[in-house]
């Protein structure tokens, strides 16, 4: 039972991070119908930029409290990622709008490779450790432990998601975004500047990615140039699980995937009599993905049909 609660908590924290990244995928897919393969790399860029700032501050010996240093790192990382997201859209996707579907997917893969390798040249191949600047006082709940950082991650993602929902459903900009998602041409006729809306979507998604990147590297204590890839894939899975194009779906899918993964990793050894171990954790995400797409392609909350051509 203790293991169950513990894995549930771990899954929730992991899921909160997945959800933030998944939102970026789902927003772009909702509007452009494009899988933004490079989104995981934006997450990585956020983490690496924040880490560099943090290392600089720690190295310079400035006497600042830990959370403030991380906050400063985040403050640099978010605008950097916003610019990155805007540039990616402007250079790699916008000229190809209306091109065959495979074309932007290939450029997305190209951007992903490019960013990874630039990051590798800038920050090297090795793993960077994230300094333990954030308080991690453990609390004991129902036989399991949860620390400050974990609580903070869950609360912050919750707040960001609430803000995003408000933005999309209650503001003029959100209205324009939803209109563009439904039908770009008609939205344009109604006076929506589609290009601006799409750019803003990418910028918002990238800002969320930066936050998620800092969270994930602070949580695991490491960052490296390759971290965005698997995270991106899993977040995409989460978006599909919830119903791609659907914001609430991405959140539900993210949390659900996090929980499935950690429960799966926690119990697979017992279930298979020790034949398969917790190193199969990564398989769960893909199994979930394949199952969802074959059984319910529209996802849990989605109304879009996967079999659109």
């Amino acid at each position: 039972m203790d293991i169950f609660v513990q894995q549930l908590i771990n899954g929730l924290v992991l899921g909160a991070i997945y959800a933030l990244v998944a939102l970026g995928y789902t927003m772009v897919y909702g509007i452009l119908g494009l899988i933004n393969f490079a989104h995981g790399e934006v997450v990585m860029a956020g983490a690496m930029v924040a880490l560099s700032v943090i290392q600089l501050l720690v190295g310079s010996g400035v006497a600042l409290p830990g959370p403030m240093i991380v906050g400063l790192g985040l403050l640099v990382a978010i605008p950097t990622c916003m610019v990155l997201g805007y540039t990616i859209e402007r250079v790699a996707y916008r000229p190809l709008r209306g091109a065959p579907r495979l074309t932007p997917l290939i450029t997305a893969i190209g951007v992903s490779i490019l960013l990874q390798n630039v990051a590798m040249i800038l920050w090297g191949r090795h793993y960077h450790s994230f300094p333990p600047l954030l308080p991690a006082t453990p609390y004991h709940v129902a036989g399991a432990t949860i620390n400050d950082l974990q609580i903070f991650i869950v609360l912050l993602s919750g707040a960001i998601m609430a803000a995003l929902l408000y933005l999309v459903h209650r503001t003029r900009l959100g209205c324009a975004m939803r209109a563009t998602a439904q039908n770009p041409e008609i939205a344009g006729l109604m006076g929506v500047n589609i290009n601006t809306v799409i750019s803003i979507t990418f910028v918002i998604g990238s800002a969320l990615a930066a936050v998620a990147g800092v969270m994930v590297s602070a949580y695991y204590g490491i960052a490296h140039y390759f971290m965005g890839f698997m995270l991106g894939l899993k977040a995409f899975t989460a978006a599909v699980l919830g119903g791609i194009g659907n914001l609430a779906g991405a959140m539900v899918g993210g949390v659900l995937l996090g929980v499935i993964e950690s429960l799966g990793a926690g119990y697979i050894g017992d279930l298979t009599g020790g034949f398969l171990g917790s190193h199969y954790q990564d398989v769960f995400a893909f199994l979930v993905l394949i199952l969802v797409l074959t059984l319910r392609p529209s996802g849990l909350l989605g109304e879009r049909v996967a079999e659109r051509s």
């Binding site: 190809l96 209306g98 065959p100 579907r101 495979l102 990874q116 894939l233 993905l289 079999e307």
Partner: protein
């Protein structure tokens, strides 16, 4: 001028001259490259041929049938591990090459059907992601199936795989025929060349067959294809199975050639590389795909020379050429897609469609 050129292209004497020149070039390639660039380039030439086979296999799935497969390397892996397991000290089994190659193709084909059957009703990018997931699952199993029962030997991979040998002629030993020395790499080059030509022949015949036309019809418009009486499910499954078996054959050859296999060789990047060969070269066009494969094998190797070049220009190595390889690769992908979206050497039908009426291609390409 164009008409002269067209006339020249149709002249049988010119066609034959080109074929003979190509044949001579391919037959003498190992000797020439060995003499000009060194032994390692013969190996690269052999690898180019291997990748041509892989790219042609994926071309059936992506180029003809228009099904985007991002996990193609899984079939390559299945073929390679099948060969490795049954021709190495791992289980102490040493089956002969001529038996393993078709069996490996059959097993890979089976995996293709296994993946295709439940997923083929998905289209476009969803199929891409599911196949990507499948590829990763296969790799994760290869990494982890070393405990509690050691099957794949985990991340270390399988060593000491039997070299290819047919009827007493071992490809791993140097032979001397008619006074010409044939080191191991040469043997493999000629073996791969023969098989590549075979695969190309099958591809060409398929392209113009009833099945090939059915694939293209599905790519252009699935609903219309079904209305014409094509059993779309079976035909798409066939595309998957055919593509997979080509992958399986290449995998077996790879295992025999390398002498060892490890999960490292079957990452998602490998799938993406093969996809890039098909897309950059020109989807659905055999010469284009061949060009794409050769370019993407040879270019990264050529980029290695950037190291000494930097040394000469700046006095030190600014960026490790090994790091630059994929950087250039990503950049090339973006640029080609932006500037020449139909690939470097598009098929004639597609080119004709593009030049006649730019709007005519949109509906079918949207499904690809």
């Amino acid at each position: 001028m164009t008409s002269d050129w067209e006339k020249l292209k149709r002249d049988p004497r010119v066609v034959w001259a080109v074929y003979i020149a190509l044949a001579l070039l391919l037959l003498t390639l190992p000797f020439v490259t060995d003499w000009a660039f060194g032994r390692s380039w013969v190996r690269i030439a052999a690898f180019s041929l291997l990748y041509i086979m892989l790219a042609l296999g994926l071309n059936i799935v992506v180029g003809y049938a228009g099904l985007l497969d991002l996990g193609y390397v899984a079939f390559f892996a299945v073929g390679a591990y099948f060969y490795a397991l049954l021709a190495s000290p791992q289980f102490g089994v040493h089956l002969p090459f001529w038996m393993l190659l078709p069996l490996g193709a059959a097993i890979a084909c089976l995996f293709g059907i296994l993946l295709g059957a439940p997923t083929l009703r998905l289209r476009g990018d969803y199929l891409a992601i599911v196949t990507l997931g499948f590829g990763e699952i296969i790799r994760i199993f290869l990494v982890n199936l070393n405990a509690p029962v050691n099957i794949t030997n985990g991340p270390q991979g399988i060593n000491l795989i039997d070299p290819v040998s047919v009827g007493g002629y071992s490809f791993a030993q140097a032979h001397s025929v008619l006074g010409l020395g044939f080191p191991a790499v040469y043997n493999y080059y000629y073996l791969f060349l023969a098989l590549t030509l075979g695969v190309m022949f099958v591809s060409m015949r398929l392209e113009n067959s009833r099945i090939g036309r059915a694939w293209v019809a599905i790519r252009e418009d699935e609903v219309a294809a079904a209305a014409m009486g094509i059993n779309t499910r079976n035909i798409k499954l066939l595309a998957f199975a055919m593509g997979a078996s080509f992958g399986g054959v290449s995998g077996g050859l790879f295992a025999g050639f390398q002498g060892f296999v490890s999960p490292e060789s079957f990452t998602l990047w490998e799938s993406i590389t093969i996809l890039c060969m098909v897309v950059l070269g020109g989807m659905g066009n055999i010469p284009g795909v061949v060009l794409g494969a050769v370019l993407l094998v040879v270019l990264p190797e050529a980029l290695r020379y950037l190291g000494p070049l930097q040394q000469a220009l700046f006095g030190r190595v600014l960026a490790d050429p090994a790091d630059l390889r994929f950087l250039v690769f990503g950049l090339a992908l973006i640029l080609v897609m932006l500037l020449r979206p139909s690939g470097l050497w598009p098929s004639t039908t597609r080119r004709r469609e593009l030049s006649a009426d730019p709007d005519a291609t949109k509906p079918h390409e949207a499904t690809a």
